[in-house]
Amino acid sequence: MIKMLTFAAALAAATALGGVAANAKTLVYCSEASPAGFDPSPWSGGNDFDASSRTIYSRLVEFEHGKTSIMPGLAESWTVSDDGLEYTFKLRPGVKFQTTDYFTPTRDLNADDVIFSFERQWKKDSPWYDYLPGTGWEYFTGMGFPDLLKEIVKVDDLTVKFVLNKPEVAFLPDLGMDFASIVSKEYADQLEKDGNLQQFTQKPIGTGPFQFVDYQVDAVIRYAAWDGYFGGRQKIDDLIFAITPDPAVRAQKLKAGECHIMSYPAPADIAGLQADDNLKVEEQEGLNIGYMAYNTTVAPFDKAEVRKALNMAVNKQAIIDAVYQGAGQVAVNPIPPTMWGYNKDVKDDAYDPEAAKKMLEEAGVKDLSMKIWAMPVSRPYNPNAQRVAEMIQADYAKVGVKADIVSYEWTEYRERGKQKDRDGAFQLGWTGDNGDPDNFFFLLGCDAIGQSNYAIWCNKEFEDLLQKGKATTDQAERTKIYEEAQVVVKREAPWLTIAHSKVFMPMSKKVEGFVMDPLGIHRFDGVDIAE
């Protein structure tokens, strides 16, 4: 009964808002997965962010649309103290939280909201710290905020000061990330009074371009443009996420006009979508690498020449053709060619089964049988690890190496992959968080062993370069350092660098103003749909 009432109320609200009547502009997005919830901070999946932080909320600072540079958001301006320890933000006056059938704000955004947004993820005595049982606030923790923040001070209603324990050059970009979205303290207080904390993640309130209307679990999310959005009302009236996990089904829905835009098409469908007269397919070089890491501590993979021979046995172009369906390029280095510091002079190991066979023989490797690990999920950097594994398996067979394919459930897969005595070569990949090469090279650093260094590779020469690159500020100098690092990686071959993939966004030709994001999030502010 309660459910029925809330639905009715939601409906009333939806109709009241900007008249959803006959000529309402509706954009339907076929999304790939259900969000875990609508609180922007506890979760870390791209689909969670698309559905919460990027639609409903805003942040103190924002990434420019389609870029990784920072621009003012809820903060109009800011100052940084000379020692880099104090950041003072001036808040934009008159920012309105969304008014819905379940909450009517009585005041505009102020410093209390900002402080609450962070302290709930930080202070364990807050009732909100554990309001979702078992939340680790993984992004807040992962970005090192508990150690970084000393205090957050309310200077006045519209001024808030962050005091840090140590300088951090990436602090401003960090505040543009999803977990740093600003929530309403007034709403939280009201829910706390009602004893209904759970509602905070089920019925969100933010200051972003769209407000939440309704969510049918695993099926449909409905949003409406928020009239009071400080950035101006959106051109579309309604935004609908049609949750469709199967990429082939998403593609078919797009073709049938059941949605206007879709995420992550299967490589197999791209040609067909491009050929469709009603559709356009936007594309972008992905900031990513798909690789297979040998366990460099286990014989015979502890020898660089064995790894190199195995790399030469794999026909990577065939993988690009069959699995990526041409939507990618053979990876030579661990960083994509669009990134600064990329070394064009490094030559890839040529595909040469005969030579590979000989090298293996010379290294004294006979009747090698090994495991190839295949991720159970599709990722932009590797759309079908199982198929890649099958192809590598067939290539290995030609040089006399017998390979078995293993796979586990996704969480377990990564846990097992980290183990130092892991048996076999491990497929994975990486999508960059920012444009910096260090954000890729750290994956092979000695510190990352047991975490993200799945090659379990600790090479003194490489490690020195990595540390030097971190400590240097001059970009030209860093470029040189990283170019050298790529030479070392190619020579030592801890990875089989497989591919850098392209990211595609197929959409109806009616969709205007959609900008692809280098970090892989999907934003619908500023999007219009032609009649």
Binding site: K3, M4, F7, A8, A10, L11, A14, T26, V28, S34, A36, G37, P42, W43, S44, G45, D130, L132, P133, G134, T135, G136, E138, Y139, T141, G142, Q198, T201, Q202, D214, Q216, V217, D218, A219, V220, R222, I240, A242, I243, T244, P245, D246, V249, Q252, K253, A256, E258, C259, P376, Y408, E409, W410, T411, E412, R414, E415, Q451
Partner: protein
């Protein structure tokens, strides 16, 4: 009769106990770590890990955990999903109507087509109608329904473009959910086109899910009818010159109904298993797909409570069938 019911109920108590134990044990045996599954892709610090272990009690003796789980279930608390942090029972109730609607429509299809087809096949035994119907029924019974669903999608949604690809209703229709059944809600909403949209979304999944029960019901009806038609009293009725329609309709069919009802009841388990595949293929937001996803995500709490809830439903339906059987079969009543 009363004793029969009592006997059946008494049998159920240990089974329910066993089901809770099995669901609990299965989930404990699943490889992986609930705390890590809860923590997400970025992992969790050792301190926080210890904290969560303590908080969720995964470090306590297994039997303590079991009895606490039973205690919670008896209070209607089925736990909180590790992935979404929503109460499991809430998710179940939100998704169950979709499965129930699909299963009900599939079952109705199976009964409405299966019983008449079975009767006619029996009456016209050996005719071309009988042979074709029984051939089709055996084919349906042998059908890998996940493949069948894909074929229907390729043909009706892909080639012909007649039916939508997935979902329960066109996205332009948005109305309050009163019953959870899209067919009924769409009628109640009073929006023109809503009902036909709901039907067009439902039809393919329902056909796929109905395939096996339909085949089984048609075959069972036919053989039950054949058996009854061979009985002495039917022969007598015929000999007395009663019209064939009367003989078949009243005498034969009523008696043939008993095994058919049992068959229909037994199909409920089959429907649940079929729903897993059908919902996966059609992205139907029901509990079958929910269970598959949760097993894949290692959402231990959902798997455990979902198994329990589904088993209880299957068992409840079987109980109802048993009782119904007793009502229509006088021989059992007397015992």
């Amino acid at each position: 009769m009363f004793r029969y019911i009592l006997h059946k109920l008494a049998l159920i108590v240990p089974t329910i106990f066993g089901i809770t134990l099995a669901a609990f044990a299965f989930v404990r045996l699943l490889p992986g770590d609930p705390i890590l599954a809860m923590a997400g892709e970025r992992g969790v610090s050792p301190e926080r890990y210890a904290e969560l272990l303590e908080r969720f009690g995964y470090n306590r003796p297994i039997w303590v955990q079991y009895f606490e789980y039973i205690g919670n279930v008896l209070h209607g608390d089925f736990g909180i999903s590790l992935a979404t942090k929503r109460p499991v029972i809430g998710e179940f109730l939100a998704l169950f109507p979709a499965t129930l609607e699909l299963a009900t429509v599939a079952m109705l299809l199976a009964i409405i087509i299966g019983i008449p087809a079975g009767i006619f096949a029996a009456v016209k035994r050996g005719s071309w109608f009988d042979q074709i119907t029984m051939g089709a029924a055996l084919t349906g019974y042998s059908m890998p329904i996940f493949w069948w669903g894909l074929l229907l999608i390729i043909f009706f949604s892909g080639t012909l473009g007649w039916t939508p690809v997935s979902g329960r209703i066109g996205l332009q229709y948005f109305f309050p959910s009163v019953t959870g059944f899209m067919l009924i809600d769409s009628l109640l909403s009073g929006k023109s086109g809503a009902f036909s949209s709901a039907v067009s979304h439902l039809i393919l999944p329902a056909i796929v899910l109905a395939t096996i029960p339909l085949a089984v019901i048609a075959r069972q009806t036919r053989s039950a009818m054949l058996e009854v038609l061979g009985e002495d009293y039917v022969r007598t009725a015929r000999a007395k010159g009663l019209s064939p329609r009367r003989v078949i309709g009243i005498h034969a069919f009523r008696n043939a109904l008993i095994p058919v009802v049992t068959t229909i009841g037994l199909q409920v388990g089959t429907l649940m298993a079929g729903a897993i595949l059908t919902e996966t293929i059609f992205s139907w937001p029901g509990i079958g797909k929910w269970m598959i996803d949760s097993i894949g995500k290692r959402d231990y709490v959902v798997v455990q409570s979902g198994l329990l809830l589904i088993a209880l439903i299957v068992m409840a339906v079987n109980l109802v069938v048993d009782l119904l059987y007793a009502v229509i079969n006088p021989r059992i009543r007397v015992q």
